[in-house]
Subunit: 229 residues, 2 copies
DNA sequence: CGCGGTTTTGAAGCAGTTCAAGTAGCGTGG
DNA sequence: CCACGCTACTTGAACTGCTTCAAAACCGCG
């Protein structure tokens, strides 16, 4: 049995969004059995590759991670960026269907997929998180299919920025731990199109690029919302 | 608690693909408690709409269903077609994030989302199916994001046909229960582009269109596979 | 200061869209 | 039983948003 889930009391957990870092630490502190091994990865380091055997799943403590799929000729689709509090690396089969690497220096907590103790404890806090993570991943995937299938370049960038703003929780300035190439491969565009969309939004006074283009300040959230359709 | 899942023994179920109709009936027959209410829908009839309260989830007995999301201006993204054996309509929140309608005359089995008896029975056959359905939905969404983000029109159509061929289980001729518009809104294209891709594949001898364009015969599976990358 | 990487900008090209006919089933009613 | 009209699909031609190719700007670093 590769994985056990229980969604008791799932409702609230689902609406809570990514667990804040504070709660994350608390979990680790109060339940030694459920706490997995802390692992560190450097910027651009591979966490796992397509085809690897699935042993662990992970929760981001700090840093950021991308998970992606590749076509035989090298075309890449990044299906998600994972920020502190996010769980990723859950998989149904025995083999990885996606690859994952750290965008920047990153700390993760690794849990054995087969670790039922961690998943089915009396409180089952981690189990709830895992189930919520799966459902959230599906909802995000649905949103992203709509974006990829039906939105313009500018709308894609606007949606991306709003999503990132919401998830990173920071008001005002959003850090971009990923390169233009990563954003492009997430949004189904080229780096040039991403860059042009940023520039255009900046010229329109919707955003301001800061910190060597690796951060955006949202100046007109309403305009972004309008583009988000 | 809106929904309970347990994935014990999930592995094999996951690799099994959609349950064949035979097994479907067997499930219903052997476990009266788990069997939900049978419901019929006519072609083009709405099953639920975006914003509806979530009460049931469904399993397709016969026919076909599309689930989709809309942008405020009417742009539509069909996130999946559901064929006999498929489970759809699982949702985390209280409100529908997607709409669903029947493509053709369709029979479903409806289960109350809150029906824990059906989901957590000793054997828990339905619970496994539900968990497997969720994981499969996520895998399909990942495949589809790659398609939408990085594949050409012809590749999209090829992937779509191969997927449909695999899922419908029929060797040779594949029925297309959906219109060109539905296919277009699934593949992130226009109806004209879908039509042109079909025509092109036909001219190349890869497929043959039959039954008033509502069925395709695969004539060169290897060529389709190559396009699937 | 100059090198290597990333991002931006420019110009040309093109895949897919848009707009506009044309064709083919199919049910309906005379 | 056939003309009519409706809808779905296909085809053609022009257009355009994004890509591709190319070069410049920017920065961080040895």
């Amino acid at each position: 049995m590769p994985l056990a889930l229980a969604t008791a009391g799932l409702g609230p957990a689902l609406n809570a969004g990514p667990a804040p870092a504070a709660r994350l630490r608390q979990d680790g502190a109060q339940d030694g059995a459920a706490a997995g091994a802390r692992r560190r990865f450097e910027a651009e380091e591979e966490i796992y590759a397509e085809g690897d055997r699935v042993v662990h799943f992970y929760k981001v403590v700090s840093g950021a991670v991308r998970t992606y799929r590749l076509l035989s000729d090298g075309r890449r689709q990044i299906d998600g960026f994972h920020l502190p509090g996010d769980i990723f690396g859950l998989e149904a089969g025995a083999e990885r269907r996606t690859g994952a690497d750290a965008l920047v220096d990153t700390t993760l907590v690794a849990h054995r997929r087969s670790d039922r103790a961690a998943l089915t404890g009396e409180a089952g806090a981690l189990a709830h998180e895992v189930a919520a993570a799966m459902l959230r991943a599906l909802e995000r995937a649905q949103d992203h299919m709509l974006l990829l299938g039906r939105k313009s370049a500018k709308e894609r960038v606007a949606s991306f920025l709003l999503g990132l703003a919401r998830r990173s929780g920071t008001e005002g300035t959003i850090a971009l731990p990923m390169s233009r190439a990563d954003i492009a491969d997430h949004l189904g565009l080229t780096i040039e199109s991403v860059s042009r969309s940023f520039t255009q939004l900046e010229r329109e006074g919707v955003i301001a690029l800061a910190n060597h283009r690796r951060a955006v300040e949202v100046q007109d959230r309403a305009a972004l919302r309008r583009l988000d359709a």
